[in-house]
């Protein structure tokens, strides 16, 4: 049975979540926003909302999928509606990373896979199992990917992209022991190459500059405008954005939305924030899977 119960960003998030609710440390990093952005793009490609070649994302049928995570990305792509480099789209969607992290958890809770208890995200069934879908078992992602690597079966497109993301994001230790990585290196590389977006992620992750956000903002007091401009400079450098016109409106100086962004920065005292285009709400980036906007006493 083709597994469409969960989207790819949801399955990637589940890979990072242990049965005890422990979140893999590599997830708690701005770099993981690149992983989420890539997962979204790969899922859109599988659903024929976009096409890709070695360099570009090419818009295809941009009809909504009735998926709150993927549909937001579709709307973003619709606004541009022209072929653009894969790395540009990874950057654009990564800027919405905190929003997507929160939406992923909300969705997994509503689908009965996860629950929130004492501010911790846990599997509903206390082990890595999905609820029955139309009375059928759906193999959970970790087991599926492992079985694929240990076999010589021709992979499903969805499993190709998941393994590609995991490999190019340096997260293989989530799925395999050191010995397994050694024994199955060739098979893993064979499958992971089969997705064009996956190949670009590897390059993006290598070039992504990680900053210690807190250290960056330590020291003398800064005005809201200074904090925001610093954050924008950092983002531009991280994602190699040279044209300020490419920044979203909420980060583009001189727009009404930018003024609202500034107001929020003044309110929260940090420039490390994100904006949800759909709900029109701002929140502070937490780089975790329960942002300040969800599940933490709100």
């Amino acid at each position: 049975m083709e597994n469409n119960f969960l989207n790819i960003p949801e399955e990637i998030a589940l890979l990072a979540l242990g049965e005890d609710g422990e979140v893999h440390p590599k997830i708690k990093s701005p770099k993981f926003d690149i992983v989420i952005a890539s997962a979204i793009l790969m899922d859109l490609a599988i659903h024929h909302r976009i096409d890709t070649d070695r360099v570009n994302i090419i818009p295809d049928k941009l009809e909504p999928l009735n998926d709150p995570i993927l549909d937001v990305a579709i709307e973003e792509i619709k606004e541009q509606n022209k072929p653009l480099p894969i790395k540009d789209w990874i950057a654009d969607l990564s800027l919405m990373g905190q929003f997507f992290r929160d939406e992923i958890i909300k969705s997994l809770v509503s689908k009965g896979v996860l629950k929130i208890e004492n501010k911790q995200v846990l599997w509903v069934f206390s082990k890595r199992v999905y609820p029955l879908v139309e009375d059928k078992e759906v193999k959970e992602v970790r087991a599926r990917i492992r079985d694929l690597v240990f076999s010589d079966n021709i992979p499903e497109p969805k499993d190709i992209v998941i393994l590609s993301i995991v490999k190019h994001s340096d997260l293989l230790d989530i799925l395999f022991t050191d010995k397994e990585l050694d024994d199955y290196k060739q098979r893993i590389n064979q499958i992971a190459k089969m997705d064009m977006i996956g190949l670009v992620i590897g390059e993006e992750m290598d070039e992504f500059k990680l900053y210690d956000i807190k250290a960056f903002f330590s020291g003398e007091e800064k005005s809201a405008e200074e904090m925001l401009e610093e954050h924008i400079r950092e983002l531009k450098e991280k994602f190699r954005i040279t044209d300020s016109g490419r920044l979203p409106e909420w980060l583009r100086r001189g727009t009404p939305q930018y003024e609202k962004t500034l107001e929020f920065v003044r309110e929260v005292g940090t420039g490390d924030i994100t904006f949800n285009h759909r709900t029109k709400q701002y929140q502070v980036n937490s780089y975790d899977f329960i942002g300040h906007g969800f599940g933490s006493g709100n």
């Binding site: 490609a45 024929h48 096409d51 295809d60 021709i154 190459k193 089969m194």
Partner: protein, 109 residues
């Protein structure tokens, strides 16, 4: 994209030309699956005049290969240009498909 079919003994040869991308992958997929459903067990895709293939096109080939294997059939590709060959190489598809330099080799095998 243009698609032509012909038979050579037991083999069905598909001559694919132009671009295989988001605009036509569905029609290519339909034609390929139709041939499989008609019972063709040995299909060779001649890609000599194929100029461009996107990920949508690659996925059609992947699905077709899966189906052929399930039906105990064979799918082979041949006569790729350097550009298309490079795409198959970079994506690793060259490790799962039978790819031949020319039609004679594909037919012989």
């Amino acid at each position: 994209m243009e698609l032509k079919f012909k038979k050579d003994g037991e083999a069905t040869i598909l001559e694919l030309s132009g671009r295989l991308d988001t605009s036509n992958y569905e029609s290519f997929s339909d034609e390929l699956l139709k041939k499989m459903d008609e019972g063709d067990k040995h299909i060779i895709v001649d890609m000599e005049d194929l100029d461009y293939i996107s990920s949508s096109g690659l996925r059609v080939f992947l699905s077709a290969l899966k189906k052929m294997k399930e039906n105990n059939g064979e799918l082979a590709l041949c006569c790729m240009s350097d550009k298309i060959s490079e795409v198959f190489e970079i994506s690793g598809f060259s490790t799962i498909f039978k790819i031949f330099v020319c039609m004679d080799d594909a037919l012989a095998k």
